[in-house]
């Protein structure tokens, strides 16, 4: 007796649908970690998890977030978002 395997024609879409809840949960962890680590309360309040249908990402639209995240020659970096991302998985700089 033999049986065959027929891959789903919509495998990618099915996989993405299965992964979305996990990615949203991870995104939530990263957002919470970022808010907790940020020194500037406006940076902390601005962090959000976005699901655009293709993927899930964590973002801030706060104009001065880079000063907190990356520091300056007068203030050390908090690296709030990158540290939280590294905590949630293998963070690769880009």
């Amino acid at each position: 007796m033999a049986s065959g395997f027929v891959p789903s024609a919509v495998f990618e879409a099915e996989l993405v649908a299965e992964l979305h809840p996990v990615l949203e949960e991870l995104g939530g962890q990263i957002a919470e970690g970022t808010a907790a680590r940020a020194k500037d309360p406006d940076y902390a309040d601005s962090v959000e998890v976005v699901d655009d249908g293709d993927g899930v990402y964590v973002r801030t639209l706060y104009s001065f977030a880079h000063l907190d995240e990356w520091g300056s020659s007068n203030n050390p970096p908090t690296a709030a978002m990158r540290t939280s991302a590294a905590e949630a998985g293998r963070f690769v700089p880009s």
Binding site: S73, N74, A79, R82, A86, R90, F91
Partner: protein, 156 residues
């Protein structure tokens, strides 16, 4: 006490900092030196090495951890600032990665493959007081920053 061995992680920030600052190409360019905390009295051009994440255990190799760092360069003109950052990246990629290094102060370490982020070149938005070319002045200075991850473990 249970009598079990207590494994204390190495001070990776001190190790990587010692390695970078002892490279001749680096010493020749960075008059203000490499720091691991922002100094009160600053001499430019200078660099800051920050360890961003706690060492994460790398499950592929026992005893190996993965650490995320950030390198900032300030001072000089834009070209020199960029050159210092580029030199540091080249040293990390071509000389630090994939080798064991016997450090004079911090012992022996082994570095894995360094993953470098892109360099962001800009100017700091705040003026900083410091010495540059023998003169004390307060000004906005060029900046080049990048981050990198590297797997690290103790050498033998």
């Amino acid at each position: 006490m249970s009598g079990e061995d207590l494994l204390i992680d190495a001070d990776w920030l001190a190790c990587v900092s010692e390695w970078i600052r002892t490279q001749p190409e680096h010493e020749a360019l960075v008059a203000g030196g490499l720091h691991t905390a922002l100094p009160g009295d600053k001499t430019f051009p200078m660099q800051l090495l920050s360890q961003l994440s706690d060492p994460q255990i790398d499950n592929d190799v026992p005893g190996r951890v993965r650490v995320l760092f950030q390198v900032d360069t300030w001072g000089g003109n834009q070209a020199l600032c960029g050159q210092i950052a580029a030199t540091t990246k080249a040293l990390l990629r071509d000389r630090f990665a994939g080798h064991q290094h016997d450090l004079a102060v911090n012992g022996s370490i082994v570095a894995g493959r360094v993953l470098l982020g892109g360099t962001h070149r800009s100017f700091d938005t705040e003026a900083t007081v410091g010495v540059e070319n023998g003169k004390q002045e307060s000004r906005i200075r060029p900046r080049a920053r990048f981050d990198f991850t590297v797997p690290l473990m103790a050498g033998r």
